[in-house]
Symmetry: C2
Subunit: 218 residues, 2 copies
Protein backbone atom coordinates (compact mmCIF):
# COMPACT_ATOMS: atom_id res chain seq x y z
CA UNK A 1 0.00 0.00 0.00
CA UNK A 2 1.44 3.34 -1.04
CA UNK A 3 0.12 6.85 -1.41
CA UNK A 4 -0.07 6.19 -5.14
CA UNK A 5 -3.34 5.19 -6.71
CA UNK A 6 -1.74 2.87 -9.24
CA UNK A 7 -3.54 -0.36 -10.02
CA UNK A 8 -1.47 -3.32 -8.79
CA UNK A 9 0.20 -5.54 -11.37
CA UNK A 10 -1.92 -8.12 -13.15
CA UNK A 11 -2.02 -11.24 -11.03
CA UNK A 12 -1.47 -9.36 -7.76
CA UNK A 13 -3.73 -10.85 -5.10
CA UNK A 14 -5.26 -7.53 -4.13
CA UNK A 15 -6.02 -6.33 -7.66
CA UNK A 16 -9.79 -5.89 -7.88
CA UNK A 17 -11.26 -7.73 -10.87
CA UNK A 18 -14.99 -7.18 -10.74
CA UNK A 19 -16.29 -3.60 -11.13
CA UNK A 20 -12.66 -2.51 -11.12
CA UNK A 21 -13.79 1.10 -11.61
CA UNK A 22 -14.85 1.05 -7.95
CA UNK A 23 -11.45 -0.06 -6.70
CA UNK A 24 -9.12 2.17 -4.74
CA UNK A 25 -5.53 1.41 -3.83
CA UNK A 26 -4.55 4.61 -2.07
CA UNK A 27 -3.81 4.60 1.62
CA UNK A 28 -6.33 7.29 2.57
CA UNK A 29 -9.30 5.46 1.08
CA UNK A 30 -8.23 2.07 2.46
CA UNK A 31 -7.63 3.39 5.96
CA UNK A 32 -10.91 5.32 6.01
CA UNK A 33 -12.82 2.18 5.05
CA UNK A 34 -11.02 0.03 7.62
CA UNK A 35 -11.51 2.68 10.32
CA UNK A 36 -15.27 2.63 9.72
CA UNK A 37 -15.45 -1.11 10.48
CA UNK A 38 -15.41 -2.88 13.81
CA UNK A 39 -15.93 -6.41 12.46
CA UNK A 40 -13.84 -8.16 9.82
CA UNK A 41 -14.28 -11.59 8.28
CA UNK A 42 -11.08 -13.57 8.68
CA UNK A 43 -10.51 -16.24 6.03
CA UNK A 44 -7.95 -19.01 6.43
CA UNK A 45 -7.29 -22.32 4.74
CA UNK A 46 -7.98 -25.17 7.16
CA UNK A 47 -7.06 -28.63 5.91
CA UNK A 48 -7.41 -27.39 2.36
CA UNK A 49 -10.86 -25.89 2.94
CA UNK A 50 -11.77 -22.24 3.38
CA UNK A 51 -13.00 -20.99 6.72
CA UNK A 52 -14.28 -17.49 7.44
CA UNK A 53 -14.79 -16.24 10.97
CA UNK A 54 -16.16 -12.83 12.00
CA UNK A 55 -13.82 -11.08 14.44
CA UNK A 56 -13.30 -7.62 15.88
CA UNK A 57 -10.67 -5.68 13.90
CA UNK A 58 -8.83 -2.40 14.31
CA UNK A 59 -6.50 -0.58 11.96
CA UNK A 60 -3.68 0.93 13.98
CA UNK A 61 -0.83 2.54 12.07
CA UNK A 62 0.03 0.46 9.04
CA UNK A 63 -1.42 -2.82 10.30
CA UNK A 64 -4.77 -4.43 10.83
CA UNK A 65 -5.06 -6.02 14.28
CA UNK A 66 -7.10 -8.96 15.53
CA UNK A 67 -7.21 -10.18 19.09
CA UNK A 68 -8.35 -13.44 20.59
CA UNK A 69 -7.78 -16.03 23.22
CA UNK A 70 -4.46 -17.86 23.35
CA UNK A 71 -6.47 -21.09 23.24
CA UNK A 72 -8.24 -20.24 19.97
CA UNK A 73 -7.30 -22.47 17.06
CA UNK A 74 -7.81 -19.54 14.71
CA UNK A 75 -5.42 -17.35 16.66
CA UNK A 76 -2.85 -20.13 17.00
CA UNK A 77 -2.83 -20.49 13.21
CA UNK A 78 -2.55 -16.72 12.79
CA UNK A 79 0.29 -16.55 15.32
CA UNK A 80 2.07 -19.24 13.30
CA UNK A 81 2.09 -16.88 10.33
CA UNK A 82 -0.47 -18.58 8.12
CA UNK A 83 -1.87 -16.86 5.05
CA UNK A 84 -4.95 -14.87 5.86
CA UNK A 85 -7.44 -12.68 4.06
CA UNK A 86 -9.65 -10.25 5.96
CA UNK A 87 -12.60 -8.51 4.36
CA UNK A 88 -14.79 -5.77 5.76
CA UNK A 89 -17.90 -4.15 4.37
CA UNK A 90 -20.18 -1.35 5.50
CA UNK A 91 -23.50 -1.14 3.71
CA UNK A 92 -24.43 2.49 3.06
CA UNK A 93 -27.55 2.36 0.90
CA UNK A 94 -29.91 0.26 -1.17
CA UNK A 95 -29.80 1.41 -4.77
CA UNK A 96 -33.18 0.96 -6.44
CA UNK A 97 -33.17 0.92 -10.24
CA UNK A 98 -36.07 0.71 -12.72
CA UNK A 99 -35.07 -2.90 -13.41
CA UNK A 100 -34.36 -5.45 -10.69
CA UNK A 101 -31.09 -6.58 -12.24
CA UNK A 102 -29.71 -3.04 -12.11
CA UNK A 103 -30.45 -2.65 -8.43
CA UNK A 104 -27.31 -2.39 -6.36
CA UNK A 105 -25.98 -1.38 -3.00
CA UNK A 106 -23.73 1.46 -1.97
CA UNK A 107 -20.97 0.19 0.28
CA UNK A 108 -17.44 0.69 1.49
CA UNK A 109 -15.42 -2.51 1.52
CA UNK A 110 -11.82 -3.59 1.81
CA UNK A 111 -9.92 -6.82 1.36
CA UNK A 112 -6.56 -7.36 3.08
CA UNK A 113 -4.22 -10.21 2.14
CA UNK A 114 -1.25 -11.09 4.29
CA UNK A 115 0.17 -13.30 6.98
CA UNK A 116 -0.54 -13.22 10.67
CA UNK A 117 2.24 -11.94 12.91
CA UNK A 118 2.11 -12.23 16.69
CA UNK A 119 2.66 -8.92 18.49
CA UNK A 120 5.48 -8.99 21.04
CA UNK A 121 4.52 -9.10 24.71
CA UNK A 122 5.96 -5.65 25.47
CA UNK A 123 3.93 -3.97 22.73
CA UNK A 124 0.59 -5.50 23.63
CA UNK A 125 -0.79 -3.11 26.26
CA UNK A 126 -0.56 0.04 24.15
CA UNK A 127 -1.98 -1.71 21.09
CA UNK A 128 -4.81 -3.39 23.00
CA UNK A 129 -5.72 0.02 24.40
CA UNK A 130 -5.78 1.46 20.89
CA UNK A 131 -7.87 -1.52 19.80
CA UNK A 132 -10.45 -0.84 22.53
CA UNK A 133 -10.48 2.86 21.62
CA UNK A 134 -11.29 1.88 18.02
CA UNK A 135 -14.17 -0.38 19.06
CA UNK A 136 -15.53 2.02 21.70
CA UNK A 137 -14.44 5.51 20.62
CA UNK A 138 -13.75 7.85 23.52
CA UNK A 139 -13.38 5.09 26.08
CA UNK A 140 -9.66 5.54 26.73
CA UNK A 141 -9.05 6.00 30.46
CA UNK A 142 -12.48 4.68 31.41
CA UNK A 143 -11.49 1.21 32.61
CA UNK A 144 -9.78 -0.23 35.64
CA UNK A 145 -6.11 -1.05 35.00
CA UNK A 146 -5.35 -4.25 33.11
CA UNK A 147 -4.28 -7.32 35.03
CA UNK A 148 -1.05 -8.88 33.84
CA UNK A 149 -2.81 -12.23 33.40
CA UNK A 150 -5.43 -10.64 31.10
CA UNK A 151 -2.77 -9.33 28.76
CA UNK A 152 -0.91 -12.63 28.88
CA UNK A 153 -4.06 -14.60 28.00
CA UNK A 154 -4.67 -12.52 24.87
CA UNK A 155 -3.06 -13.14 21.52
CA UNK A 156 -2.70 -9.98 19.48
CA UNK A 157 -2.13 -10.51 15.78
CA UNK A 158 -1.24 -7.99 13.13
CA UNK A 159 -1.37 -8.12 9.36
CA UNK A 160 0.45 -5.69 7.11
CA UNK A 161 -1.53 -3.56 4.68
CA UNK A 162 0.75 -3.78 1.64
CA UNK A 163 -1.55 -6.19 -0.18
CA UNK A 164 -4.91 -4.57 0.33
CA UNK A 165 -7.53 -2.80 -1.68
CA UNK A 166 -10.71 -0.89 -1.05
CA UNK A 167 -13.84 -0.95 -3.17
CA UNK A 168 -16.48 1.71 -2.80
CA UNK A 169 -19.79 2.32 -4.54
CA UNK A 170 -21.58 5.63 -4.17
CA UNK A 171 -24.32 7.43 -6.07
CA UNK A 172 -27.58 6.52 -7.71
CA UNK A 173 -28.77 3.70 -9.93
CA UNK A 174 -27.32 3.19 -13.39
CA UNK A 175 -30.26 2.15 -15.52
CA UNK A 176 -30.46 1.16 -19.15
CA UNK A 177 -30.96 4.25 -21.30
CA UNK A 178 -34.30 2.94 -22.55
CA UNK A 179 -35.61 2.66 -19.00
CA UNK A 180 -35.00 6.23 -17.83
CA UNK A 181 -38.34 7.53 -19.08
CA UNK A 182 -40.37 4.75 -17.46
CA UNK A 183 -42.79 5.84 -14.72
CA UNK A 184 -40.92 3.70 -12.19
CA UNK A 185 -39.28 5.16 -9.14
CA UNK A 186 -35.52 4.86 -8.88
CA UNK A 187 -33.15 6.24 -6.30
CA UNK A 188 -31.23 5.53 -3.16
CA UNK A 189 -32.44 4.42 0.25
CA UNK A 190 -29.70 5.29 2.78
CA UNK A 191 -28.85 2.80 5.51
CA UNK A 192 -28.00 4.71 8.64
CA UNK A 193 -26.21 3.31 11.68
CA UNK A 194 -26.64 5.07 15.02
CA UNK A 195 -25.80 4.49 18.63
CA UNK A 196 -28.91 4.09 20.77
CA UNK A 197 -29.33 5.24 24.36
CA UNK A 198 -26.92 3.47 26.72
CA UNK A 199 -28.40 0.75 28.95
CA UNK A 200 -26.91 0.43 32.44
CA UNK A 201 -25.62 -2.97 33.54
CA UNK A 202 -28.00 -4.65 36.00
CA UNK A 203 -25.35 -4.72 38.68
CA UNK A 204 -24.05 -1.17 38.23
CA UNK A 205 -22.78 0.43 41.45
CA UNK A 206 -25.08 3.11 42.89
CA UNK A 207 -24.71 6.63 41.53
CA UNK A 208 -22.58 5.73 38.51
CA UNK A 209 -23.70 7.48 35.31
CA UNK A 210 -23.12 6.63 31.66
CA UNK A 211 -20.04 8.49 30.41
CA UNK A 212 -20.04 10.94 27.51
CA UNK A 213 -18.51 8.47 25.06
CA UNK A 214 -21.70 6.41 25.11
CA UNK A 215 -23.37 9.36 23.39
CA UNK A 216 -20.92 9.34 20.44
CA UNK A 217 -22.30 8.76 16.98
CA UNK A 218 -20.83 5.66 15.38
CA UNK B 1 -29.14 -28.32 9.64
CA UNK B 2 -32.02 -29.86 11.54
CA UNK B 3 -34.61 -28.66 13.97
CA UNK B 4 -32.57 -30.23 16.71
CA UNK B 5 -30.23 -28.13 18.76
CA UNK B 6 -27.62 -30.85 19.12
CA UNK B 7 -24.01 -29.82 18.94
CA UNK B 8 -22.38 -31.29 15.81
CA UNK B 9 -19.86 -34.08 16.25
CA UNK B 10 -16.34 -33.18 17.31
CA UNK B 11 -14.36 -32.34 14.21
CA UNK B 12 -17.41 -31.19 12.24
CA UNK B 13 -16.51 -28.08 10.27
CA UNK B 14 -19.42 -26.06 11.59
CA UNK B 15 -18.95 -26.93 15.26
CA UNK B 16 -18.26 -23.65 17.06
CA UNK B 17 -15.14 -23.85 19.18
CA UNK B 18 -14.69 -20.42 20.73
CA UNK B 19 -17.36 -19.23 23.19
CA UNK B 20 -19.29 -22.37 22.31
CA UNK B 21 -22.00 -21.37 24.78
CA UNK B 22 -23.09 -18.75 22.22
CA UNK B 23 -23.46 -21.27 19.41
CA UNK B 24 -26.80 -22.31 17.97
CA UNK B 25 -27.42 -25.13 15.52
CA UNK B 26 -31.19 -24.98 15.21
CA UNK B 27 -32.78 -23.95 11.95
CA UNK B 28 -34.86 -21.10 13.37
CA UNK B 29 -31.89 -19.27 14.87
CA UNK B 30 -29.69 -19.82 11.81
CA UNK B 31 -32.34 -18.65 9.36
CA UNK B 32 -33.23 -15.61 11.46
CA UNK B 33 -29.56 -14.55 11.52
CA UNK B 34 -29.11 -15.11 7.78
CA UNK B 35 -32.35 -13.27 7.02
CA UNK B 36 -31.12 -10.22 8.90
CA UNK B 37 -28.03 -9.95 6.66
CA UNK B 38 -27.73 -8.58 3.14
CA UNK B 39 -23.96 -8.97 2.81
CA UNK B 40 -21.95 -12.14 3.34
CA UNK B 41 -18.21 -12.67 3.18
CA UNK B 42 -17.43 -15.45 0.75
CA UNK B 43 -14.20 -17.35 1.44
CA UNK B 44 -12.56 -19.61 -1.12
CA UNK B 45 -9.16 -21.19 -1.53
CA UNK B 46 -7.37 -19.64 -4.50
CA UNK B 47 -4.06 -21.26 -5.44
CA UNK B 48 -3.73 -22.49 -1.88
CA UNK B 49 -4.36 -19.08 -0.35
CA UNK B 50 -7.53 -17.83 1.31
CA UNK B 51 -9.59 -15.13 -0.33
CA UNK B 52 -12.64 -13.44 1.17
CA UNK B 53 -14.97 -11.30 -0.90
CA UNK B 54 -18.03 -9.40 0.34
CA UNK B 55 -21.12 -10.23 -1.70
CA UNK B 56 -24.88 -9.82 -1.48
CA UNK B 57 -26.52 -12.92 -0.01
CA UNK B 58 -30.07 -14.16 0.47
CA UNK B 59 -31.41 -17.18 2.32
CA UNK B 60 -34.25 -18.66 0.30
CA UNK B 61 -35.70 -21.97 1.48
CA UNK B 62 -32.92 -24.23 2.65
CA UNK B 63 -30.11 -22.59 0.69
CA UNK B 64 -28.00 -19.49 0.80
CA UNK B 65 -27.84 -17.76 -2.59
CA UNK B 66 -25.16 -15.56 -4.17
CA UNK B 67 -25.40 -13.92 -7.54
CA UNK B 68 -22.81 -12.43 -9.81
CA UNK B 69 -21.64 -11.90 -13.32
CA UNK B 70 -20.92 -14.92 -15.52
CA UNK B 71 -17.50 -13.39 -16.14
CA UNK B 72 -16.56 -13.25 -12.47
CA UNK B 73 -13.70 -15.54 -11.50
CA UNK B 74 -15.28 -15.99 -8.08
CA UNK B 75 -18.60 -17.09 -9.56
CA UNK B 76 -16.91 -19.39 -12.07
CA UNK B 77 -15.16 -21.15 -9.20
CA UNK B 78 -18.43 -21.36 -7.25
CA UNK B 79 -20.27 -22.72 -10.28
CA UNK B 80 -17.57 -25.37 -10.56
CA UNK B 81 -18.55 -26.61 -7.10
CA UNK B 82 -15.54 -25.44 -5.13
CA UNK B 83 -15.54 -25.50 -1.34
CA UNK B 84 -16.79 -22.25 0.09
CA UNK B 85 -17.42 -20.73 3.48
CA UNK B 86 -19.71 -17.74 3.89
CA UNK B 87 -19.87 -15.76 7.11
CA UNK B 88 -22.29 -13.00 8.07
CA UNK B 89 -22.36 -10.75 11.10
CA UNK B 90 -24.69 -8.04 12.34
CA UNK B 91 -23.33 -5.89 15.13
CA UNK B 92 -26.06 -5.14 17.67
CA UNK B 93 -24.30 -3.37 20.53
CA UNK B 94 -21.04 -2.36 22.13
CA UNK B 95 -20.72 -4.03 25.52
CA UNK B 96 -18.81 -1.82 27.93
CA UNK B 97 -17.34 -3.57 30.97
CA UNK B 98 -15.46 -2.15 33.98
CA UNK B 99 -12.25 -3.58 32.50
CA UNK B 100 -11.21 -3.14 28.89
CA UNK B 101 -10.46 -6.81 28.37
CA UNK B 102 -14.01 -7.75 29.36
CA UNK B 103 -15.57 -5.39 26.85
CA UNK B 104 -17.39 -7.21 24.10
CA UNK B 105 -19.93 -6.77 21.35
CA UNK B 106 -23.42 -8.12 20.97
CA UNK B 107 -23.89 -9.63 17.54
CA UNK B 108 -25.70 -12.17 15.43
CA UNK B 109 -23.39 -14.16 13.20
CA UNK B 110 -23.47 -17.29 11.11
CA UNK B 111 -20.93 -19.39 9.26
CA UNK B 112 -21.99 -21.62 6.37
CA UNK B 113 -19.73 -24.31 4.93
CA UNK B 114 -20.53 -26.01 1.66
CA UNK B 115 -19.95 -26.19 -2.04
CA UNK B 116 -21.23 -23.88 -4.70
CA UNK B 117 -23.95 -25.24 -6.98
CA UNK B 118 -25.11 -23.43 -10.09
CA UNK B 119 -28.87 -22.87 -10.25
CA UNK B 120 -30.52 -24.23 -13.39
CA UNK B 121 -31.56 -21.69 -16.02
CA UNK B 122 -35.30 -22.37 -15.62
CA UNK B 123 -35.22 -21.72 -11.87
CA UNK B 124 -33.33 -18.44 -12.02
CA UNK B 125 -36.09 -15.88 -12.50
CA UNK B 126 -38.16 -16.83 -9.46
CA UNK B 127 -35.06 -17.09 -7.28
CA UNK B 128 -33.56 -13.83 -8.50
CA UNK B 129 -36.88 -12.15 -7.72
CA UNK B 130 -36.81 -13.60 -4.21
CA UNK B 131 -33.20 -12.43 -3.92
CA UNK B 132 -34.17 -8.87 -4.81
CA UNK B 133 -37.09 -9.01 -2.37
CA UNK B 134 -34.66 -9.99 0.38
CA UNK B 135 -32.29 -7.12 -0.40
CA UNK B 136 -35.06 -4.55 -0.92
CA UNK B 137 -38.02 -5.77 1.14
CA UNK B 138 -41.39 -4.93 -0.38
CA UNK B 139 -40.01 -4.25 -3.85
CA UNK B 140 -41.64 -7.23 -5.57
CA UNK B 141 -43.63 -6.04 -8.59
CA UNK B 142 -41.93 -2.65 -8.66
CA UNK B 143 -39.58 -3.20 -11.56
CA UNK B 144 -39.89 -3.42 -15.33
CA UNK B 145 -39.87 -7.02 -16.59
CA UNK B 146 -36.51 -8.78 -16.81
CA UNK B 147 -34.80 -9.05 -20.17
CA UNK B 148 -33.79 -12.56 -21.16
CA UNK B 149 -30.19 -11.41 -21.65
CA UNK B 150 -30.05 -10.04 -18.10
CA UNK B 151 -31.01 -13.38 -16.62
CA UNK B 152 -28.62 -15.18 -18.94
CA UNK B 153 -25.72 -12.94 -17.93
CA UNK B 154 -26.19 -13.68 -14.25
CA UNK B 155 -24.79 -16.68 -12.43
CA UNK B 156 -26.91 -17.72 -9.48
CA UNK B 157 -25.19 -19.96 -6.96
CA UNK B 158 -26.63 -21.78 -4.02
CA UNK B 159 -25.06 -23.40 -1.01
CA UNK B 160 -26.82 -25.89 1.24
CA UNK B 161 -27.28 -25.10 4.91
CA UNK B 162 -26.52 -28.53 6.37
CA UNK B 163 -23.10 -27.49 7.61
CA UNK B 164 -23.84 -24.17 9.23
CA UNK B 165 -23.97 -22.64 12.65
CA UNK B 166 -25.08 -19.41 14.22
CA UNK B 167 -23.40 -17.60 17.07
CA UNK B 168 -25.22 -14.92 19.00
CA UNK B 169 -24.22 -12.74 21.93
CA UNK B 170 -26.83 -10.76 23.83
CA UNK B 171 -26.99 -9.10 27.22
CA UNK B 172 -24.71 -7.01 29.36
CA UNK B 173 -21.07 -7.16 30.32
CA UNK B 174 -19.68 -10.05 32.33
CA UNK B 175 -17.18 -8.49 34.68
CA UNK B 176 -14.86 -10.04 37.23
CA UNK B 177 -16.66 -10.38 40.55
CA UNK B 178 -14.14 -8.07 42.24
CA UNK B 179 -14.92 -5.30 39.75
CA UNK B 180 -18.68 -5.07 40.20
CA UNK B 181 -18.48 -2.61 43.08
CA UNK B 182 -16.10 -0.25 41.28
CA UNK B 183 -17.48 3.21 40.50
CA UNK B 184 -17.02 2.58 36.77
CA UNK B 185 -19.93 2.61 34.35
CA UNK B 186 -20.73 -0.62 32.57
CA UNK B 187 -23.54 -1.46 30.23
CA UNK B 188 -24.61 -1.76 26.65
CA UNK B 189 -24.61 0.81 23.85
CA UNK B 190 -27.05 -0.41 21.17
CA UNK B 191 -26.10 -0.09 17.51
CA UNK B 192 -29.23 0.71 15.55
CA UNK B 193 -29.62 0.43 11.79
CA UNK B 194 -32.33 2.46 10.08
CA UNK B 195 -33.42 3.33 6.57
CA UNK B 196 -33.05 7.04 5.86
CA UNK B 197 -35.33 9.11 3.66
CA UNK B 198 -35.30 7.94 0.04
CA UNK B 199 -33.34 10.09 -2.43
CA UNK B 200 -34.77 10.35 -5.95
CA UNK B 201 -32.52 9.48 -8.90
CA UNK B 202 -31.32 12.60 -10.71
CA UNK B 203 -32.99 11.48 -13.92
CA UNK B 204 -36.31 10.35 -12.42
CA UNK B 205 -39.29 10.79 -14.75
CA UNK B 206 -41.62 13.67 -13.81
CA UNK B 207 -44.31 12.93 -11.28
CA UNK B 208 -42.92 9.61 -10.05
CA UNK B 209 -42.95 9.27 -6.26
CA UNK B 210 -40.98 7.04 -3.93
CA UNK B 211 -42.96 3.85 -3.23
CA UNK B 212 -44.02 2.68 0.21
CA UNK B 213 -41.28 0.05 0.47
CA UNK B 214 -38.64 2.77 0.69
CA UNK B 215 -40.16 3.64 4.07
CA UNK B 216 -39.65 0.14 5.49
CA UNK B 217 -37.49 -0.24 8.56
CA UNK B 218 -34.50 -2.46 7.89
Amino acid sequence: MTDATDTPAKGALHRVRQSANRAAYDRDTLYAVLDACKVGHVALVDNGRPISIPSAVARIGDHLYLHGSNSSRLFKALADGCDVCVSVCELDALVVARSAMHCSMNYRSAVVFGRGERVAEEDKVALLDAFTEHLIPGSTGHFRPHLAKEIKATTLIRIGLDEASAKVRTGGPVDDKDDIELPIWAGVVPIITLQGAAIDADDLADGVCAPAFTLNGS
